[in-house]
């Protein structure tokens, strides 16, 4: 009876938090003139980005353009050299480790290859954040985990080990784990990498459905243009450390920006050249004959 009261109180608190945050016009994530460098190498040069509750936002760009760095800054794994990163109204540069951990309890993250704990079953993986951060009785945790697994279509795989899962299944289990605590913000790092078309479609639909069901804000770093444009609400294009284009999927498709055009239509040559910089061939031939 006491545990039931505790669960009811926990859900009431969550509902209150939800109503409270949902009514707020404040963005969940806001980056203002953010700069970041690894030593001398500058990765981000004055990035502005805003994500509101209920939005699913994609960050796109070529390899090494700074997308993953952007995600790590939002997750608090890296600290900006200049500018401001705000999540749920809190400036990340001012947070202590314990305050950052408190904020991360309201975040979920899906890693590129799932990052499931290999020594735990599927059920234990999804239960991990619940066991670490709540005092819920074991039966309730089990029920909640089965509900999350049911949402990603893997309730029947609860007893399997990660080594027994396919790439797509592992990604879905990781997705269930990422949303186990009903987060305010979910970060996705290349969620479609290495998936077959069916798994890719399933994962994409799950990301959209879970975002809408949770009323959360989601940020997805991805290369997969066609799937993403059919899924997200807003897109930011990053190139060479700056946002070169932004807009709704329709605006992006119609964009005249040469970089966006090359990226969206997968053209081999354009602002991102096909050839790595090298001296002209003619100079090599002249050098050889001289």
């Amino acid at each position: 009876m006491r545990s039931f009261a505790r669960i009811a109180a926990s859900f009431a608190l969550r509902f209150f938090k939800y109503v409270n945050t949902a009514s707020s016009k404040e963005p969940v994530v806001q980056l203002e003139q953010v700069r970041f460098a690894y030593g001398e190498r500058e990765i981000l040069r004055g990035v502005d980005l805003t994500v509101h509750r209920g939005q699913l936002v994609a960050i796109m760009g070529g390899s090494g353009s700074g997308k993953t760095t952007l995600l790590r800054l939002i997750g608090g794994q890296l600290r900006a050299n200049a500018g401001r990163v705000t999540v749920a109204g809190q400036d990340l540069s001012r947070l202590s480790t314990s305050a950052l951990y408190a904020l991360r309890r309201r975040m979920g993250m899906l890693f590129q290859f799932g990052a499931l704990f290999t020594d735990m079953s599927v059920l234990d993986n999804v239960a991990f954040p619940l066991r670490e951060h709540t005092d819920l009785p074991a039966e309730i945790v089990r029920d909640l985990v089965l509900m999350k697994l049911h949402a990603v279509g893997l309730r029947g795989a609860a007893g399997l080990m990660p080594s027994e899962l396919s790439g797509g299944m592992a990604r879905r289990v990781a997705l269930a784990r990422a949303v186990a605590l009903d987060p305010l913000l979910v970060l996705y790092d290349e969620p479609f990498a290495g998936l077959d078309p069916i798994s890719l479609g399933v994962t994409g639909q799950l990301i959209r459905r879970l975002n809408d069901a949770l009323g959360a804000a989601s940020i997805m770093v991805t290369h997969d243009v066609q799937v993403s444009l059919g899924l997200v609400d807003y897109v930011y294009f990053v190139s060479d450390g700056v946002i070169v284009a932004r807009g709704t999927p329709d605006e992006i498709r119609a964009s005249a920006d040469p970089f966006v055009h090359q990226f969206v239509h997968a053209e081999p040559d354009g602002p991102v050249p096909f050839h790595y910089p090298a001296p002209p061939l003619a100079s090599l031939i002249e050098g050889a004959t001289a």
Partner: protein, 263 residues
Amino acid sequence: MNAFGELLRKIGALTIDGIWRLGFASRFFVAVLRYSGQSFRRLPLTIREIYFSGVLSLLIILVSGLFVGMVLGLQGYDILQRFGSSDALGIMVALSLLRELGPVVAGLLFASRAGSAVTAEIGLMKTTEQLQAMDMMAVNPVARVVAPRFWGGVISMPLLAAMFSAMGIFGGWLIGVVAIGVDDGAFWSQMSASVDFRYDVVNGVVKSFVFGVAVSLIAVFEGYDCQPTAEGVSRAITRTVVSSALVILALDFVLTSFMFRGL
């Protein structure tokens, strides 16, 4: 001159890198101690690591202890019988094992068996982003992954060294008394009369505890600090085994010179 300059530059870079890693290892050790309370509050995690580091190392420790004791029995008898002191075989076997061979050889075996496994496990967790995932779930990986493995090793090591010594003494008895025919009563009575609990046994336990701290710290640090690639993990495992062996032998000399002052 250029080659000499290059050599100096390399030596300088290696020295700075070494000092930097030592500093990082010291800060890491402080962090492990700081978060140890959390790992003890979740006792099943530490017990699980005692099982993996201790119980699963038992076979290699017991078999090695038996063979080392049997060799000591053979060599000891060969030397002692030249002076007509073969009855002192029990003392020789027991003191060799309790003071030196037990802690040192058990430490070397522990580093090879359990230390390398801990480094590989933490290194692979880092490579597959499991540590990063834990951190993003607001769970400190040092408290959840590193500290239980560290304490699992520290608790296991003295127990394994004691098992090694006990098995070695049994091996010495098997060869000396059963196979060669040294007097059974003399073997045990001389041993019990000459082995001092504090001077020999406790000092041996202290040594094995210190070796346990050193090996466990090296193992968890190398895993946590490795390059997150297959080659990086492989190098980290090699460094764990090599560094642990050198540190055990160096610490053994330092501890012995403090503990046994009859020089």
